[in-house]
């Protein structure tokens, strides 16, 4: 079973925007769509390391701010000719709080 950890309020993340969560292995970007869905991806574009948390969020996609690769927020898969995948993490909203997969965060910290 996935164990979730509370990382903050949904209101702390701008709609169509993102905030980052720091781990020992780098940052995880937590996105909020226009319709208040949340998704979590590694905050690193596999192309040149662009911070995806600073990209423009549209529909269920984010566009890398450095060179405009477009990622599917739910899978971390880049679209079209860009054949990159960035790691995605289970995330959800409950009672206005944003919850992130605790086990994955911990594994990253331990590694």
């Amino acid at each position: 079973m996935t164990l979730f950890v509370d990382i903050g309020s949904l209101e702390d993340i701008p709609r169509q925007g993102a905030r980052v969560v720091k781990t020992t292995e780098g940052c995880v970007a937590v996105f909020r769509t226009l319709e208040d869905e949340v998704f979590a991806l590694d905050d690193r574009c596999p192309h040149k390391g662009g911070p995806l948390s600073e990209g423009i969020v549209h529909g269920r996609n984010v566009t890398c701010p450095l060179h405009s690769a477009v990622f599917d927020l739910s899978t971390g898969q880049a679209q079209g000719a860009d054949d990159y995948v960035t790691r995605s993490y289970p995330a959800k909203v409950e009672n206005g709080r944003v919850l992130l997969d605790a086990a994955l965060l911990k594994r990253r910290s331990a590694a």
């Binding site: 169509q16 905030r19 720091k22 319709e35 423009i56 549209h58 269920r60 450095l66």
Partner: protein, 814 residues
Amino acid sequence: MKKKLVIIGAGMASGRAIEHLFEHATADWDVTLFNAEPRGNYNRLMLSPVLSGEKTYEQIVTHDDSFYAAHGIHCRFGEKVVSIDRARKVVVGEKGEVAYDKLLIGTGSNPFIIPLPGKDLKGVIAYRDLEDTQAMIDLGAKPGAKAVVIGGGLLGLEAAAGMAARGVDVTVVHIMGHLMERQLDESAGYLLRKALNDKGIHVLCQANSKEILGDETGHVRALALADGTELPCDLLVMAVGIRPNVALAKEAGLQVARGIVVDDHMVTSDPDVLSLGECVEHAGAIFGLVAPLYDQAKVVAATLNGEHSVFVSREVSTKLKVTGCDLFSAGDFAEGEGREDIVFRDPSRGVYKRLVLKGDRIIGAVMYGDTADGNWFYGLMKDGTDISEMRETLIFGPAFQGGAALDPMAAVAALPPEAEICGCNGVCKGKIEAAIKGGATTLDQVRAQTKASSSCGTCTGLVEQVMAVCLGDDFVMPTHLPMCKCTDHTHEDVRRLIKSMELKSQPAVFQELGWKTKDGCHSCRPALNFYLLADWPLDYQDQPQSRFVNERNHANIQKDGTYSVMPRMWGGMTDANELRAIADAAEKYGAAVKVTGGQRIDLLGIKKEDLPAIWADLNDAGMVSGHAYTKGLRTVKTCVGSDWCRFGTQDSTGLGIKLEKLLWGSWTPHKVKLGVSGCPRNCAEATCKDVGVICVDSGYQIGVAGAAGMDVKETERLCDVASEDEVLEITAAFIQLYRENAKYLDRPYKWVAKVGLDWVKERVVADIDSRRALYDRFLISQSVYQKDPWAERARPEDRPKWAPLADFTKEAAE
């Protein structure tokens, strides 16, 4: 012997329960019905048609005296229940006790009253019962009456529409970004707002109420908003939601959470007490719509009659009862894992439909303008029907006839004849149509006869679309590059339509121009954000989430994810104080320091979370953002001019500073750089800038449309003028013309190449009125946008927004 049933509350749910109770042949009940309102059961949902005059009170009564008499029901209307004594099994009314075997509590809900100062003034009402409705009806009889409704949900809008239909001047004040946000998405909310505006109802969204103001007689006179606006009114209706009315149940010691807690059989924590309606809480949920209440009524009747029945909460649908506003909403329409959208828009008819699918099932539907198929979709959703077979044509509904594809020209076809197509020559759609009817079949013929698209040419695409609509297959549309995958329109078309159709928000553009996506993409959103703020500076609210990272964070992102910070140095001048502050900041934040080509100093390698602190430090030394990251005014490069140079003819430094102080903070289609040289030796390299001024003995030579990037190009001479004031006015007018007309991400030299320098000269130099109007519009925009973004974001309370949301590196170390 008959069993004694006491019912508290004669609402819609309890009325329905009584009906079901007596449907059973075995039913043998002696019923006493209490109601605080001085009347029996009526259909509260139909208060809105009563308000709007479409129905009378008599028509919405569900149970009349003969019904109560036929079933031997003792009616105690207009009498409040004082308490419930569960130990003795009696209900204590104001006029005496009644014993019960079973008790049914249907106390409903109370309107929520926002605790604003002035909430107890006369003329402040909720929208709950016939008395409230009558107060609104009475207001309609008063000539010139004004009303304010707080709350843009279902009830608030019905109240507003009902009063408007009776001639009242109504303003709706809503705290959220769009109307009915619980039932509608942004696009449908936009259409609804538009329809209400057409009915003469004013709608203010994102509006915070602050205080209700009264007159000397203690009657409401106005609502004050947090931004200082005062909305005068004779009646103020609060329709911001309901709270379960649990006071009696709570006092009686029943288990109460948000509502009176009931099990699947509608039984409370006391086995002899049942409850139903808006006062109950079942499995954590409370209820505001009628459909589940009717289900509860069935279960209550069955339980009382000793049968097994279970209440199951189900999806509900909503319709707004406002004539002319056709909307439908059901289920869940948030985005989510594995969910897909099917969107249909028909701008000319104002239709929007959206289905949310999960797997092969419909889980949500929002419709506006054409809701005929709503119940069909709702049925599919409720039954969990597999729709994979009809997926392709699903959105067209059960009467699908072959489904014409969305017509990209629908928006143009729908324009009225008086809509302006060509702004340069003031040519409206009707004139172009007349020319086509008169025999013009080519673009050149239309140009020759109407002058449309014969000046700057940016409306060419629209003229061609008008021709295509009129001529049908006889006209072959040339292909133009659309703005992005979200639309078939070009940038030029979109700009023109934003102006002519007065589109003032992104949802408005998406709907009216038939966008194929719900919220655009990284390519169109920044462009639309600019077009809207440039055309409607006073109406449009800038959307940071539609901006590229640099403009959103007001710093330049570098390849390693750090930022560069560059304060403004007016005209390239600085002093010891500023340099000291910059040196301190560089040391404190570990920045690399670079002198730029724009005569300023760049601090590189700043971490995002340090941005507000370094901005505050630089602000303290009197410096503001250099906007080195924007599609906006960057630098004004100058030489030392007549102050110091033996060749200087004019005060080029002073003029550069004046230009920068006038222009800073303005947003433009692409970046804008200026130069002012004090003599033709041109030490400030002004002749390769977007606007370059060369000072000469007789005055100033203004050149525009230079370039020194991907392309290198010398400026073209716009005009020569004698005074600094003329330089300032003409430069601002030129930049405003560029702001209003250029395609996003076209530098001025690209734009001037498209429209022609003569076209620019005519508007900025020759026609003084046009120049003055452009200059004035620039100043209006500056009144909104000329402010230091650093100071606004460096406030201590905003700083946490720049830091990570959570930090797990520290926990791991422990």
